[in-house]
């Protein structure tokens, strides 16, 4: 995982616009949702320092917004993995997008 570079991370996120995507989303201590499938219509990254917001619009009526994202990578399967870690390596949030379902 690399510290988020906003233009690059946003470019990667926008590659999913117009496509069906499987999403894993979690606020680690409270909730996770794995493999919900949506058609992404808009994708955004906001924020100016080391902690970023991401938002997706999907299916013509949906929003997904997350904050406290710090790191990202495109993994060997072409999945975009965004995550937010604290200063001791603990995960606070994660947002993953893939063209195929994530392992259950």
């Amino acid at each position: 995982m690399l510290p988020i570079n906003k233009p690059q991370a946003e470019a990667e996120l926008r590659k999913f616009v117009g496509a069906d995507a499987y999403i894993h989303s979690e606020a680690t201590s409270f909730v996770f949702v794995r493999n919900f499938k949506v058609k992404v219509t808009h994708a955004f990254i906001a924020g100016e320092s080391s902690s970023y917001r991401a938002a997706l619009r999907f299916d013509g009526h949906g929003w997904l917004r997350m904050e406290a994202l710090t790191h990202y990578e495109v993994d060997e399967f072409g999945r975009l993995l965004l995550a937010g870690y604290d200063d001791r390596g603990r995960m606070n949030v994660a947002l993953h997008l893939g063209k195929e379902p994530f392992p259950e």
Partner: protein, 237 residues
């Protein structure tokens, strides 16, 4: 009564836990002790701990790489502790309590019948401390009672909480207190094998003698059947 092992009939222990690191953090010294005594040990980890929060420090894991990393760490920890047989139930971390109970009990009962362990270890179904712990403890306890014709069930406990068992409705005679002082080095090696979980704890990575000084001398187990004939309170077998 003490069950004596010999070359033909080794003593056997089955532990049914929820996450990689439960075995090390809670009762690693006990595994190392019984490994040294020739006990054959099987560990079930219901999950791979893939929903954990600690991702290394600094972080080097993500949610999708965590399962394989923690499986490998557990294999290394088992090698440190002398646990010869490791089984994963492939249940997603944080979802054990939502598994079909009968099916989960059935899998554990089949293992108990197959292995015929002298000792079964699991979590207490109320004092397990995490929903996955309580769920695997409940299923294992039910499976033990359905299957057992011999052997003894014990619940693992945290730290030295069982120095005061009255707080939990138990008596001192219900507690087995194992002296693991001679096995702390193996336990420390297993802690370090669980690298992504222990990097955040600076003391684990201090010089060996300093790190070892943080371990308590004893590990404590609650008897699963407080009505059972009195056994020694310093040995699980």
């Amino acid at each position: 009564m003490t069950i004596q092992g010999n070359a033909n009939t080794p003593r056997k222990l089955l532990a049914v836990f929820a996450h990689p690191d439960d075995e090390t953090f809670i009762c690693g010294g006990t595994f190392a002790k019984y490994a040294a005594e020739g006990v054959e040990m099987t560990l079930v980890s219901a999950t791979r701990g893939e929903m954990g929060r600690r991702m290394g420090n600094p972080p080097y894991l993500n949610r999708e790489t965590m399962a394989a990393a923690r499986e490998q760490e557990l294999r290394e920890a088992c090698a440190c502790l002398g646990i010869g047989n490791l089984i994963f139930f492939d249940i997603r971390d944080k979802t054990v309590e939502f598994e079909d109970e009968r099916s989960l009990e059935g899998r554990i009962e089949a293992l108990i019948r197959d292995i015929a362990p002298d000792v079964v270890l699991t979590f207490h179904e109320r004092y397990g401390g995490h929903p996955d712990h309580c769920a695997i403890g409940k299923a294992t306890t039910a499976a033990f009672w359905r299957s057992a014709r011999k052997g003894a069930l014990y619940f693992i406990t945290f730290g030295d909480a069982m120095e005061r068992p009255e707080r939990y409705g138990y008596k001192r005679k219900d507690v087995v207190k194992i002296d693991v002082q001679a096995y702390q080095s193996a336990k420390l090696a297993a802690f370090r094998a669980h690298r992504c979980q222990t990097e955040i704890d600076e003391w684990v990575w201090l010089a060996d003698n300093e790190a070892l000084s943080r371990f308590g001398r004893h590990e404590y187990f609650l008897k699963g059947d407080v009505q059972a004939a009195q056994r020694a309170n310093t040995d699980l077998f």
